[in-house]
């Protein structure tokens, strides 16, 4: 029962956020459902009168549904060149088309031919026959399709958090990232209840209409439309600058520091939009102007974005200089000065096991590649400054390699599911789980210092940003960063507040 108590406490502490995310979830789901209904029902009716084209069209909708929902969300970013609610709603709509389309088509096609003939023979026009006879008879089947789609949408909408569309999925992603079940439950349980609630409303609607009157159906449609249209009437002030950040405590804290600093010294209206699942997602969002600034690590900029290798033993300055030049040349982006802490990659093991096997450096792993199972993030497993480099520089190829989400590694190591993980140097996990960090004796990992990355044109539009953000240059030590990460990951502190406290305590607002 403990975890439920934790969830209730979390709900108490995060009420504002909860209601915002719930609203986002409802809004996104209803919008997608309405779009699906307005596309599928007329299309289904049309197909029931043009049977020859029905099969291919329904087949196409079926293909849309076979695409894994995660992949569909990903495609939408590429196709629409945008992140957030819009691509999420498009993806959810595409996903929900089939059940409604198929049921509308089936419901109308399966109206007793004798009844249709009676209607025609009595002199009903095609439209009147549809409205008075076919639709009322097909309503139960159509409603069943809508209910299926609705459950599908409410469930899949939790994934929309991955492309920054918000909703209850935010809680679930945070929960996975921090290996915190209370967060996962706070997202999952309301999502499930929401599906049940909508299902209940639709069932009552169907019962009231009894396949007779279309009025209750129209009433519910109207109510849904109203909910969806509500934000159009509320003031929707667009922020001047959007600060992005990858998933996790550290990027979120840094992004919030940028936010506080800029708002403190300018009149710009700044918003933080963090939670991007990978480097590629965040950088892509920057390229399409979805966000304006985000903190990127120097090592990542060099190896992942510029596809260069850092020669072993490079200094922090060298890596930053090369990255800044490269970003300016290749992407026309400005890369301001980095902070002090170095959140480099590291390999970590359980302290006890490392002691027993006498492993202190990465090279010491040599004899154990067939016994020890590493658990790497997807990103690390495929990076030159990750497992690929370990194979090349250290000549270590492990027999079994597990790949898993970043938030799960520490726990997996703790319970012995894996023996080696890639860790971030400033991660609070290292302290919390009593891990031994292996020495990078061949200097594979380049330095990873956080620094603000933005388009050149953003800096030209707001030249004061350079001075404001460079205040952080050389600030924040490894220990300070680790401490702040710990506050967020283990004490559940609000990243915005942690960031503000650091800035206040260190005299940035004086």
């Amino acid at each position: 029962m403990g975890v439920f108590q934790e969830m209730l406490d979390l709900f108490q502490n995060r009420q504002n956020m909860f209601w915002t995310l719930l609203w986002e979830h409802i809004h996104m789901s209803l919008l997608a459902l309405l779009c699906a209904v307005f596309i599928s029902v007329p299309l289904g009716i049309y197909l029931s009168r043009k049977k020859r084209v029905a099969e291919p069209v329904i087949g196409a909708a079926a293909v849309l549904q076979t695409i894994p929902s995660l992949a569909l969300l990903g495609f939408m970013i590429l196709i629409l060149n945008e992140i957030g609610t819009f691509p999420a709603v498009v993806a959810l709509t595409a996903y929900a088309l089939l059940p409604i389309l198929r049921n509308t088509y089936t419901g109308i096609s399966e109206v007793d031919p004798a009844v249709k003939e009676a209607a025609t023979g009595m002199g009903m026009s095609s439209f009147r026959r549809l409205r008075k006879v076919e639709l009322p008879m097909a309503i139960p089947v159509i409603m069943a399709g809508i209910r299926t789609s609705m459950v599908l949408i409410v469930g899949t909408a939790t994934l929309a958090a991955l492309i920054s569309a918000g909703g209850l999925g935010d809680f679930i992603m945070t929960g996975i990232d921090r290996a915190d079940n209370a967060y996962i439950l706070l997202g999952a349980i309301p999502a499930a209840l929401l599906a049940l609630f909508f299902d209940f409303i639709l069932r009552v609607t169907e019962k009231t209409s009894k396949g007779k009157a279309l009025t209750p159906v129209a009433a519910v449609l109207g109510a849904a439309l109203l909910v969806v249209a509500l934000p159009l009437f509320s003031f929707n002030q667009k922020p001047d600058l959007v600060i992005g950040g990858k998933m996790g405590a550290e990027p979120e804290i840094i992004a919030n520091m940028y936010h506080h600093l800029i708002e403190n010294e300018t009149d710009l209206n700044v918003e933080v939009q963090s939670g991007f699942g990978s480097t590629a997602a965040a950088f892509n969002a920057l390229q399409v102007d979805e966000i304006d600034i985000y903190p990127e690590f120097t090592g990542t900029a060099l190896t992942a974005l510029l596809d260069q290798t850092a020669s072993p033993g490079s200094t922090e300055e060298e890596v930053y200089e090369r990255a800044a030049k490269g970003m300016a040349r290749e992407y026309n982006m400005a890369y301001l000065e980095p902070m002090q802490f170095n959140n480099t990659y590291a390999l970590a093991m359980r302290e006890k096991q490392a002691q027993k096997l006498g492993i202190e450096t990465i090279s010491d792993l040599g004899p154990y590649t067939d016994q020890l199972t590493p658990g790497f993030t997807f990103e690390f497993a495929n990076r030159q400054d990750g497992y690929l480099g370990i194979q090349e520089v250290y000549g270590l190829t492990f027999e079994n390699v597990e790949t898993m989400d970043a938030g799960l590694r520490a726990r997996a190591l703790e319970v012995g599911e894996v023996d080696i993980i890639d860790a971030y140097f400033t991660s609070a996990d290292i302290v919390e789980y009593n891990m031994r960090v292996l020495e990078d004796d061949k200097n594979l990992f380049p330095p990873y210092q956080g620094a603000p990355l933005m388009k050149q044109k953003t800096l030209e539009a707001h030249p004061e940003l350079e001075r404001i953000l460079n205040q952080l240059s050389g600030e924040i030590t490894n220990e300070e960063m680790q401490q702040m990460n710990y506050m967020v990951d283990y004490n559940d502190a609000d990243p915005s507040i942690v960031a503000r406290e650091y800035l206040t305590d260190n005299g940035f607002f004086d």
Binding site: G123, M124, M137, G211
Partner: protein, 354 residues
């Protein structure tokens, strides 16, 4: 008046459903199209309200070619009764009947009065059945609604496509009588499709016998029975010239003074005797003797020939026999029924000799 002139219908697959069909249906007559299945009778019928278009030839109503009518107005003016009944399942009985009047933009009061009138006409109490759904009614009740739905806006023509074939024999006979009576009262032109010669003979003013899309013979029931055009007609009609070889179902009374529901037994008069008793499902229970139920073993089936039934009368001491089918009392055959039938039979035969 409906005129068919050299109507031919060839379906896309090459089947010739109707071949050079020429006929004239008079105003106010009940015209029966009959023949074995696949003879083209239903196709011919559906060409009247243009559910099927002829491949060649022309159909005229009151001298005007069908294609010159507005399609919807034409259909509003032709009541249509289907074999499958096909009431609209999501509408109440009242709404079903009101379909055509609504399209014709009658006022609410006018429609409501008309619904009352029609439901009373087929003995469905409006106060009970108005707001019922079709599936809450028995098959016979549904088809009565089907018939009055077709009559709702007082069309000049009624077309009926095997309307009673899905109903049980008692209900069917009752409805045949109702239709015949209706027609004599309201003088509609009725085109009626059936494959049942008994039905055709019972209700038709004229009968048109078809085979393979062609007309074999058109004439009054009497003409068909007594002057069949060829062996096909004779075979199709069967031998109906000897009155003693007629099954008793042709003359029995469905509602008889000699039968009573067991529930009404205490209030029923002791006379006439015998009094046969059935329960709410028409199961035959026996006969009444001084208010008690007594077994009764001498019964006939609806297919029993008259000459056989008369033997039963001779060997038993009763004035009426129960007609039983599958344990149910479907009618009573009394001396009165036999006398009435004989009179009618000889009146028809008499016509022949005139």
């Amino acid at each position: 008046m409906i005129t068919f002139e050299s109507i031919t219908k060839t379906f896309p697959d090459g089947t010739k459903a109707v071949d050079d069909f020429t006929a004239e249906i008079k105003k106010g007559e009940l015209f029966v199209l009959i023949g074995p299945s696949g003879c083209g009778k239903t196709t011919t019928l559906k060409m009247i309200n243009r559910l099927i278009e002829p491949s060649s030839g022309s159909i005229r109503i009151e001298g005007a070619d069908l294609t010159r009518w507005n399609l919807q107005e034409l259909r509003w003016n032709i009541g249509y009764v289907l074999q499958q009944i096909a009431l609209f399942p999501t509408m109440t009985i009242e709404e079903n009947i009101a379909v055509v009047p609504e399209m014709r933009k009658w006022s609410k009061n006018q429609i409501s009065d008309r619904v009352d009138e029609l439901m009373n006409m087929v003995e469905l109490d409006p106060s009970v059945y108005r707001r019922r759904m079709p599936k809450e009614l028995s098959g016979g009740q549904q088809q009565r609604v089907g018939v009055v739905r077709a009559l709702a806006s007082d069309p000049d023509i009624l077309i009926m496509d095997e309307p009673f074939s899905a109903l049980d024999p008692i209900t069917r006979e009752q409805l045949q009588k109702d239709v015949k009576e209706l027609q004599s009262r309201i003088q509609k032109t009725i085109v009626f499709v059936t494959h049942d010669m008994d039905e055709a003979l019972a209700i038709g003013d004229r009968i048109c016998l078809m085979e393979s899309g062609r007309i074999v013979q058109t004439g009054t029931p009497h003409e068909l029975v007594h002057h069949p055009a060829d062996d096909f007609v004779r075979d199709f009609i069967g031998d109906r010239t000897n009155e003693w070889d007629t099954p008793v179902k042709k003359m029995m009374s469905c509602k008889s003074e000699h039968s009573v529901n067991v529930a009404d037994l205490p209030n029923s008069p002791l006379y006439p005797a015998p009094m046969y008793i059935f329960d709410s499902d028409y199961h035959f229970l026996g006969r009444s003797r001084e208010g008690e139920i007594e077994d009764h073993s001498v019964t006939v089936s609806p297919e029993t020939m008259l000459k056989k039934a008369v033997e039963y009368f001779e060997t038993s001491d009763v004035d009426a026999l129960p007609v039983i089918e599958n344990g149910k009392l479907i009618g009573v055959l009394s001396y009165k029924d036999i006398v009435r039938y004989m009179q009618q039979f000889h009146k028809e035969s008499g016509k022949e000799s005139v």
